[in-house]
């Protein structure tokens, strides 16, 4: 079973990201689960969302404490949220930033991947410069970094389920897929 945690702010689409990833995995015949950190939501507040993906039926309905993959949609969260909490020793982290992964210090040895999802989102007209909607872009990066689903599957799912601007969202995912960088470029 693979457990994934998304960190974002209310309004950035973290919850939709967790759902789109679940839908993509489901399209590839996995069993899936996606849920937000439940509570009283509002725009601007930190949001955590989760996805579980498994070949077998997912029966575990407890919270995700030791994710295999962590995704950060908003670097400003690093001041108030410990995004690496519980991350498995070999777990991967994908971050929305223009910085190369070598320049991101999270105090852990885990493999890091970075992509400027905000820039890509704005380029494709997703959200505003002040509040870009980076979720589909970051998913493209996640898919490249982790191979958890095929990019084609993700693109299909985005085109079917993105609430608006389906083409633009799909293109953002594809661009991020191309542009994401790991520490030692493969």
């Amino acid at each position: 079973m693979i457990e994934i945690r998304f960190h974002g702010r209310g309004g950035q689409g973290s919850v939709i990201a967790s759902e789109l990833l679940a839908r993509a995995a489901f399209a590839e015949e996995k069993d899936v689960q996606s849920f937000p950190m439940y509570g009283v939501e509002r725009r601007g507040a930190p949001v955590t969302a989760f996805t579980r993906i498994d070949e077998n039926v997912v029966r575990d309905k407890s919270k995700i404490h030791t994710p295999d993959i962590v995704i950060v949609l908003d670097m400003a969260l690093l001041d108030s949220v410990d995004v690496t909490e519980g991350l498995k020793p070999d777990g991967k982290i994908i971050l929305n930033t223009g910085k190369p992964p070598e320049e991101v210090d999270l105090g852990v040895d885990n493999p890091k991947y970075t992509v400027d999802a905000s820039e890509i989102a704005v380029k494709h007209g997703l959200g505003s410069k002040v509040a870009p909607i980076v979720n589909t872009a970051i998913l493209g990066a996640v898919v490249k970094a982790t191979g958890i689903v095929d990019i084609e599957t993700l693109v299909d799912v985005i085109k079917e389920h993105a609430p608006a601007k389906k083409e633009e969202n799909a293109k953002a995912a594809e661009e991020a897929y191309e542009k994401v960088r790991g520490e030692k470029d493969e």
């Binding site: 509002r42 725009r43 601007g44 505003s128 002040v130 509040a131």
Partner: protein
């Protein structure tokens, strides 16, 4: 000590149920820590020339975030959540809801 740290001076740091009061009791005012103005996506802008200081906005505001002063109604942007009720109720249309991001 900052104003925020001051607020917590009498809040105990409970380790388990034995340290808790018999029910949940919060120190006042918790508002100092929780400026709900950050929740806004729209903000009310008062045209003081139109304002007749009737007090209807103050009466209807669910968050006590608009007050009638000498020069007219004034919004407390620290706490106003941008619900738009004041704008809706104002009898002289002196209040307009504008995009928050244009003012940040």
């Amino acid at each position: 000590m900052s104003e925020e740290e001051d607020v917590f001076r009498i809040v105990i740091d409970p380790k388990d149920h034995r340290d808790l009061p018999r029910t949940v009791i919060t120190d006042c005012p918790s508002d100092l820590m929780n400026k709900t103005g950050s929740w806004r996506t729209l903000r009310p802008i008062v045209d003081k020339d139109k304002c007749i200081k009737c007090g209807i906005c103050w009466k209807f505001c669910p968050d006590v975030s608009i007050h009638v002063k000498e020069e007219g109604a004034e919004v407390d942007y620290d706490f106003c959540k941008g619900c738009g009720i004041c704008a809706k109720e104002c009898p002289v249309d002196a209040i307009e809801m504008k995009k928050e991001e244009d003012y940040v």
